[in-house]
């Protein structure tokens, strides 16, 4: 087996999920200039709701085909997350749109704590197992193992990201979103309903997050109320690495971060002559981030913002 090829595949699977979550961060940031700290928690809720829906269906309608089951669960979870994101924006961010920059950051942290503990009350403290609805085969390409599920993860992420890019670049909604992110005031004067567009952005991001949550839970076959925090943090890092506010950047940043992490963990020992081991995986990722930002202060694909905005 080819170790390097395997690490690349590991990185791609990890990176696709990061990218999907990072899109949620970057879309909101692009429009509002706000770090939506609660996005990781929305991803967690997505995974938990889907899991609850699947277990409910398994007891209520055991003869239902697994594919239909997962589809129903996904739709329920996406809708829940969209409603959740809509309400978060409406209640915790919109009233603060003209407040100092850090005020919504604190409410975001508050929401994050709130959601985690609500999830803990509803679903308990235990790690939840994801039932195996399908048998997945393992394939070998370039001497590396890859399972069907991993192929699905990469595939679904790629399709969703392409769809999003199409929506943003070629639809009326997308044009309105881009206009709003350029200048809310001018976009408003042009007859765009800014509040609607911002809500839509939050909801699209949450929908992607819900799917990411389902994929993550499926891939690792566990879900837990604390799973969103780390994932959100990594995805946010990925978004910044790619250039926050830039959709392509989020995708690139996510994939890159995934690759850096897996290749870093695999080879950091050799690189440093055995001094540093895989426990410095995250250090490695952050150092790359810092180096990139030192040379490109707005991320890899971030636009060079003029000194005066």
């Amino acid at each position: 087996m080819d170790i390097f090829a395997q690490q690349v595949i590991n990185g791609l699977v990890l990176g696709s999920v990061y990218a999907l979550v990072a899109l949620g961060y970057t879309m909101v940031y692009g429009i509002l200039g706000l770090i939506n700290f609660a996005h990781g928690e929305v991803v967690m809720i997505g995974a938990m709701v889907a899991l609850a829906a699947v277990s409910m269906l398994m007891t209520a309608a055991p003869e239902m085909s697994p594919l239909l089951m997962i589809a129903v669960a996904a739709i329920v979870s996406i809708i829940t997350c969209m409603v959740l994101a809509f309400s978060i924006e409406r209640l915790a961010y919109r009233p603060l749109r003209n407040a100092p920059r850090l005020a919504p950051l604190i409410t975001a942290i508050g929401i994050s704590i709130l959601l985690q503990n609500i999830a803990m009350i509803i679903w308990g403290r235990k790690y939840k197992t994801v039932p195996e609805l399908f048998e997945f085969d393992t394939h070998i390409i370039f001497g590396a193992n890859i399972t069907d599920l991993q192929v699905i993860i990469i595939g679904v992420s790629a399709i969703l990201m392409t769809l999003l890019l199409l929506v943003v670049n070629f639809t009326k909604l997308g044009r309105a979103m881009r206009a709003t992110s350029e200048s809310q005031k001018v976009a408003g004067l042009m007859g765009i309903n800014i509040n609607k567009i911002i809500s839509a952005t939050f909801m699209i991001g949450a929908g992607l997050g819900a799917i990411a949550g389902i994929l993550v839970a499926g891939n690792y076959s566990v879900a837990h109320y604390s799973m969103g925090f780390m994932l959100g943090l990594k995805a946010f890092t990925a978004a910044v690495l790619g250039g926050i506010g830039n959709l392509g950047g989020a995708v690139l940043g996510g994939l890159l971060l995934g690759l850096i992490e897996s290749i870093g963990a695999g080879y950091i020992g050799q690189l440093t002559g055995g001094f540093l081991g895989s426990h410095y995986q995250d250090v490695f990722a952050f150092v790359v981030l810092i180096v990139v930002l030192v040379f490109r202060p707005t991320g890899i694909m971030g636009e060079r913002v003029a000194e005066r905005a």
Binding site: Y29, I35, A92, P95, L96, N98, A99, P100, R101, L102, A103, P104, L105, I106, T107, I109, G110, I111, S112, I113, L114, Q116, N117, I118, M120, I121, L233, F236, T237, V240, I244, G274, F275, G277, H279, Y280, D282, V283, F286, V287, L289, I290, L293, V294, P297, T298, G299, E307, R308, A309
Partner: protein, 364 residues
Amino acid sequence: MFLIERARVMIADNRKFLWLGYALLLAALVLLPFLLSGTVGRTWVRILDFALIYAMLALGLNIVVGFAGLLDLGYIAFYAVGAYAWALLASPQFDLHLPFWAILPIGAGVAALFGVLLGAPTLRLRGDYLAIVTLGFGEIIRIFLNNLDHPVNVTNGPIGINKVDPISVGGADLTRTHEFLGIDFSGVHIYYYVLVLILLATIVTCVRLERSRIGRAWVAIREDELAAQAMGINTRNVKLLAFALGATFGGVAGGLFASLQGFVSPESFVLLESIMVLCMVVLGGMGHVYGVLLGALLLTVLPEVLRSSASPIQKALFGDVYIDPEALRMLLFGLALILVMLVRPTGLWPASSRRVSSRAQTNK
């Protein structure tokens, strides 16, 4: 809030009243721990000790975030550096037992050095890019502390360093109970007084800094970096100074924490702690020394109040404990963060000048 402002104005009118006010305040500060331990138990003196340490941290972070406007999400790293500096220099780990007056400046110095280390490569970064880099920096420090047990054991890794020396004066261990003037002072009481003294010094430093040339330069950078540069401010040095000074306060607080606890381990320096300190600064009133102080005290005390009242309140209201009190405590805490920000977006006690400037900032 309004009443206190009024009272301050009234007091300021008359110097005699001013002295009276200070004397009352001093008496209150001196008596507070006895009042607490006499009524609600020594726990609250210990909580107060930690509140004072967090107040120091929040004041340090306020220099970076509040004065200079540099969003730092990894501030706890300096606290960690200070704590570990103390733990390594005064514990059986390397069998070093330096006295506190030697370690405190060393710890502060090392922390300041790390502040510059963080500041230097990130000078060009703005806003949220800076936030994520500082966050990464905080994690890097924690990961190193958690892993420096191998190949050479420096920090004991996740197990932590135990039996850290307390502050001792003339051979008297300040974490033990001592009798003075016929009154028994327990360790937490004595530390309270030490911490109050250091915190008062910190407050004075912060207030003086704010009104100094440097303080005005920080505000200038916060409001408009380009304009500040045009006015002849050396933005690089002034920003680095903010990082270094903020880090120094964090380092001192860390050292005091290590000596009070007698034990340090990486679990005390997780990202959540950085976020909590930031919450203290923003919730209290960014850039306003007393506001930040209020935020720090509130956010350390509030969870403890909720801890002891979550189930009694439920019992009183509904007759039984329905929601797990621990979950409810965190739930209410999250809710409090949101509500306070919604009602007072500039913080509970903002600086009066900040209201105007922050409005201008958002309409970019």
